[in-house]
């Protein structure tokens, strides 16, 4: 499916650019991100545990970048595998433009899901996507704003999953810190960030919305909404993996959720 739109962000482009390129921020923007571990320069393992009501799912995925023209535009494409659940993949052409001191980000998304996800997905995914993209904007706005307000030293501690909305809100300032000057300094340390630092996770947030939009248009099954919801979140999860990975590899790599794998390979005996 295709989805286009744009979003005004009340922050200078450079600030938006960099905040969106800080893995620490992104990890915390992504619900249920349990770990985002770099295994090598070309391999990254991400484990994201999504839980919405009874729907719980784990996802692992990868993303590639192309048509890089920083800081103006780029194309991002991500793909993730959900094991029994199926797969999700999406891409977006993104443009950033100055807008009276703020930043206008316009996107052009194409995405799809497959396998059991698509078979069981339902129309409510649409609503979920809106909700999801909405909250992404909201949280990101908060972060950027508060970061402008009070830059602080960033904690390098490993990221723990947000306990939920309340906890996430608490973490607002912390996220801000992460997005602060520290990010820039890190950027300097790692030149790749300068060119390859498009707001991928955010874009993929939109990809998610796009996918679920797609689901609305094409998938059916009024009573299976929850799966669609899972899809949305899963793909966002994939985005996280994709984010990091996209900066390091040219081809997608699929990794399986180690915990589930471990439980499976442990077999039926306790």
């Amino acid at each position: 499916m295709k989805m286009t739109g744009d979003q005004r962000i009340a922050a200078p482009r450079q600030r938006v650019w960099q905040a969106l390129n800080d893995p620490e921020i992104l990890k915390q923007c992504i619900p249920g991100c349990q770990s985002l571990d770099r295994e090598s320069d070309t391999r990254l393992k991400a484990v994201i545990a999504i839980k919405v009501g009874p729907i719980g799912a784990r996802f692992a995925g990868a993303v590639t970048l192309s048509d890089l023209d920083p800081p103006n535009s780029y194309t991002i494409s991500g793909e993730g595998q959900g094991g029994a659940a199926g797969f999700a993949k999406g891409g977006a052409k993104v443009r950033l433009t100055e807008d009276e001191g703020a930043t206008r980000l316009s996107y052009d998304v194409d995405a799809q899901v497959g396998g059991r996800l698509a078979q069981l997905g339902g129309p409510i995914i649409d609503a979920t996507a809106k909700q999801l993209a909405g909250s992404f904007f909201k949280k990101f706005g908060e972060i950027v704003a508060s970061a402008e307000a009070q830059p602080v030293e960033m904690q390098a501690s490993a990221v723990t999953p947000p306990a939920g909305p309340a906890a996430a809100a608490d973490r607002g300032p912390a996220l801000a810190q992460a997005g602060g000057p520290q990010a820039r300094s890190e950027a300097r340390r790692s030149p790749s960030l300068e060119h390859q630092g498009p707001p991928m996770a955010w874009i993929l947030g939109l990809v998610v919305a796009a996918m679920v939009g797609f689901m609305v248009g094409h998938a059916h099954g009024g009573t299976s909404y929850w799966v669609g919801l899972a899809i949305g979140l899963l793909v966002l999860a994939a985005a996280a993996a994709g984010y990091e990975f996209g900066r390091r590899a040219a081809a997608p790599v699929i990794t399986l959720d180690p915990e589930l794998l471990e439980r499976l390979t442990r077999g039926s005996k306790p």
């Binding site: 439980r263 442990r266 039926s268 306790p270």
Partner: protein, 162 residues
């Protein structure tokens, strides 16, 4: 994954053993208990073929974990007829009224109706018909099942045959 001890009474017989946490009650009854009259039609709680009676209530055995039945008393379709083979009134009504064809959904239908008509219960036709909405039969068009329901509720049949 965890494994758990389980003690249940099935059709009056005690069964003890250990089950994996994820094992469904219908799989336990069929595979561990050998009660293959419990039929698995959809495994997502819609068709009703796997319906059994747990502590007096008709429930979907595909929508319960076996471990949840620990301590419960379960009746399956094998547990209804008398030892001498005399059919339960629900079974007899379905037989007399040609309420089955392939027989796959039948055990579920039998157990729902048996639970509702147990003891001195005299449910209305409407109550029994409403309970039928929880069962899917692909063969009969429900004709004989509805006649059996009326018979069980002591209602006359509409004259049908030319």
């Amino acid at each position: 994954m965890s494994e758990h001890p389980i003690d249940v009474t099935i059709n009056g017989q005690k069964h003890s053993g250990r089950v994996e946490a994820r094992r469904s009650l219908c799989d336990f009854l069929r595979m561990d208990g050998g009660y293959t009259g419990v039929h698995v039609g959809c495994e997502h709680g819609v068709c009703g073929a796997c319906t059994v009676i747990v502590d007096g209530l008709a429930v979907r055995s595909c929508l319960m974990l076996a471990v949840q039945a620990n301590g419960a008393s379960i009746t399956t379709v094998e547990g209804l007829a008398a030892p001498d083979g005399t059919l339960h009134p629900v079974q007899q009504a379905l037989r007399d009224e040609h309420g089955l064809q392939c027989g796959f959904c039948t055990p579920g239908v039998v157990m729902s109706l048996a639970a509702l008509t147990a003891g001195n219960e005299k449910p209305s036709v409407d109550t029994l018909m409403a309970a039928l909405s929880g069962h899917i039969c692909r063969c009969t068009g429900y004709q004989g099942i509805k006649r059996a329901v009326r018979r069980l509720a002591g209602e006359p049949q509409p004259s049908e045959h030319a």
